[in-house]
Symmetry: C2
Subunit: 390 residues, 2 copies
């Protein structure tokens, strides 16, 4: 179980395609996992997911631990059965949400105590019960409990890494089920020395796969890419590499170029619910008046249900009229966009043309306004800093 076979490599880049075997099916990598936080990818049924080509789905341990509870999910035979998704699943450890979502938290060497963002009730995650929670949920790929500090604070990251590494060992020791691949999570912010040390420490523990955490949470894109440049080469070449919580289409292309195999991100689903639709030319905001009478599909040539059946004008009408069908149809397109992008990437790696594809993609894909992005990022960093110290 959990064999990872590399099937092609990317010539002038570190890109590769592979097959990662899991108990619920083989993943063809690079793969993008839509996010099903609360045991549902928002607005999509399992058959919608299959139709848009999803193979791997992520669910959040923190949320499911709080509601409906991991014991209840276990009583239903685990998450696959409970949510009706027969394919591979991945759960995170809950660590990131404790640091970003919980009402209150207090860290010690042994774990983290926190108050639920739902009802303020008191809970505690330790390496041992984070693994137990994920064993109850039963995903195919599970994560070690880690600490996700402000990526720009060297001192904090150095201290946090000691906990994260100790917790990784304890998670490995706590694992009881053999049918779940437990990944170690590399941390260390944007600091080369810490990332290299973290990658080497975890590699020595010989996990079946490695996640890179703590990115896309406040640093700039060049900082994120530079961090990948120093981190990925330190990870075992023969094991799958998972870049957590990333990302935007351009980040996926850049991540693949640096040797990443697995991605997940709320971006396509969240942006869709705000009326933002992905195309190879960039994002369009369907709420804009310019689409009021537009007879074209969102992205001409796209094979998704939305593009095959509805003009932009109808989708805009649904958004303006606040119809929930708008959220569904936009989500269908955006997830299909990401999965078509992954298929294109894999095809180009296999054909030896990925470097040219990467270049062309980044020329064609118009990034959202950089000033807006910068302001959003600054606000996000400020909120996170407050949460970390609060």
């Amino acid at each position: 179980m959990f064999h990872f076979t590399i099937t092609a490599t990317g010539a002038s880049t570190a890109a590769r395609t592979g097959v990662f075997a899991t108990p619920h099916g083989s993943l063809i990598t690079p793969v993008f996992a839509p996010v099903g936080t609360q045991a549902t990818v928002k607005t999509l049924t399992p058959r919608d997911l299959a139709e848009v080509g999803a193979t791997l789905v992520l669910a959040n341990t923190y949320h499911l631990y709080l509601r409906p509870g991991t014991a209840l999910v276990a009583d239903f035979g685990g998450l696959h059965n409970f949510m009706g998704w027969p394919g591979p699943l991945l759960t995170d450890s809950g660590g990131f949400q404790v640091f970003s979502l919980a009402q209150w938290r207090k860290l010690d060497a042994d774990g983290v105590t926190f108050r639920s963002h739902i009802d303020g009730s008191l809970h505690r995650f330790t390496p041992e019960n984070a693994v137990a929670a994920q064993e109850a949920l039963g995903a195919d790929i599970i994560m070690c409990l880690d600490e996700c500090p402000d990526p720009l604070d060297h001192g904090y990251n150095e201290e946090a890494l000691r906990r994260t590494h100790a917790w990784a060992e304890r998670c490995r020791a706590a694992q009881r089920r053999a049918d779940q691949a437990l990944f170690g999570i590399v941390q260390g912010g944007i600091f080369d020395d810490l990332r290299v040390a973290s990658a080497r420490t975890l590699a020595a523990l010989d996990f079946p796969g490695y996640a890179i955490g703590g990115l896309s949470v406040g640093e700039t894109k060049p900082q994120m890419y530079a961090t990948l440049d120093v981190t990925v080469p330190e990870l075992p070449a023969g094991k799958p590499r998972y870049l957590m919580g990333v990302g935007a289409p351009e980040d996926i292309v850049e991540g693949v170029a640096r040797g990443i195999d697995i991605f997940d991100c709320v971006l396509p689903t969240r942006v869709a619910r705000n009326g933002g639709l992905f195309t190879r030319q960039g994002r369009m905001n369907l709420r804009n008046a310019q689409y009021a009478a537009d007879p074209l599909p969102v992205e001409p040539g796209c094979d998704c249900y939305t593009c095959q059946h509805f003009p932009r004008a109808y989708l805009r009408h649904l958004f303006k009229a606040e119809e929930t069908l708008a959220l569904h149809l936009a989500t269908v397109h955006n997830v299909r966009f990401m999965l078509r992008l992954m298929a294109d990437i894999r095809g180009h790696i296999a054909a030896g043309t990925f470097a040219a594809f990467r270049e062309q993609f980044l020329v064609e894909y118009k990034l959202p306004n950089q000033e807006v992005r910068h302001a959003q990022r600054a606000a996000y960093v400020a909120r996170r800093r407050e949460a970390m110290t609060g």
Copy 2:
């Protein structure tokens, strides 16, 4: 076009089955139309509608006239094309919404002036432009502009009927398209003399079908049934009869027994979004704690996607977690419930067993708490009275 053929009659009741031919397909009656107010049955795609067995869909002229505008819909080849629904469509005239939804309204012999509930802008419906709006939308079945008064006020109903009948004549004269069946609407509140007069007046105008309006808007159920008892026999036996805005499962069974062929109602979709799921034993509220660990489908034996794939516990989790997928899955079940009920009704009429079916259904189907219903109804009547006089 618009031939109506009666295929079976209900022995000891006035029930009948039939086939009503429309330009977008033949309707097998009695038929229930899910409501797609804003050119979408909330949370359902056209293929979801086809899968649950919908044949006729209703859309609201008032809403579509205001947003996105009937001219825009006409530019897209009409409502069938715009919303991607290839089957028969029915639009109301907008009259009811002007009286129940608009911010403000002023009636005169020639029409009604009103302010949009969306932005307060000023608009006017006349018999002529209500027909023109529905010709732009292009539904297969369209309605005359009518006035829908408080059903318990004899004087007001008598006065309103004069306008409604004059408007019905003007609507007929205004009709330009031959591929739409324009129905007259019988009004008259709960008053036998007015209902009989209205039915006779409209029957003399020889419409291709007749709607019964102004019911389920404040009167009691016995009053509604009694009104049908005196009204239906006055309508031509060979034309389809449409009971507007009705209704609850028990009202459908009672309506069919009195000779109604077409129904529409927001109830199954609206109740679904509040967590109320229909079963033959009555409504269940999936938000209740009793379903937290319930492994059964909503209604064992139901063939809908929801019942075929998910336990009640999962649906309850989605409702508690405020996931929009809950709204979709509940809507799928409730619409399928109504359409299975209609199929059962048709089967029993054809088999000559409808009277026994009706009796058994009303025994098995536990009505929602009558005190709650009475309080809701009283509040509704008070709001409507205020709106009428405001």
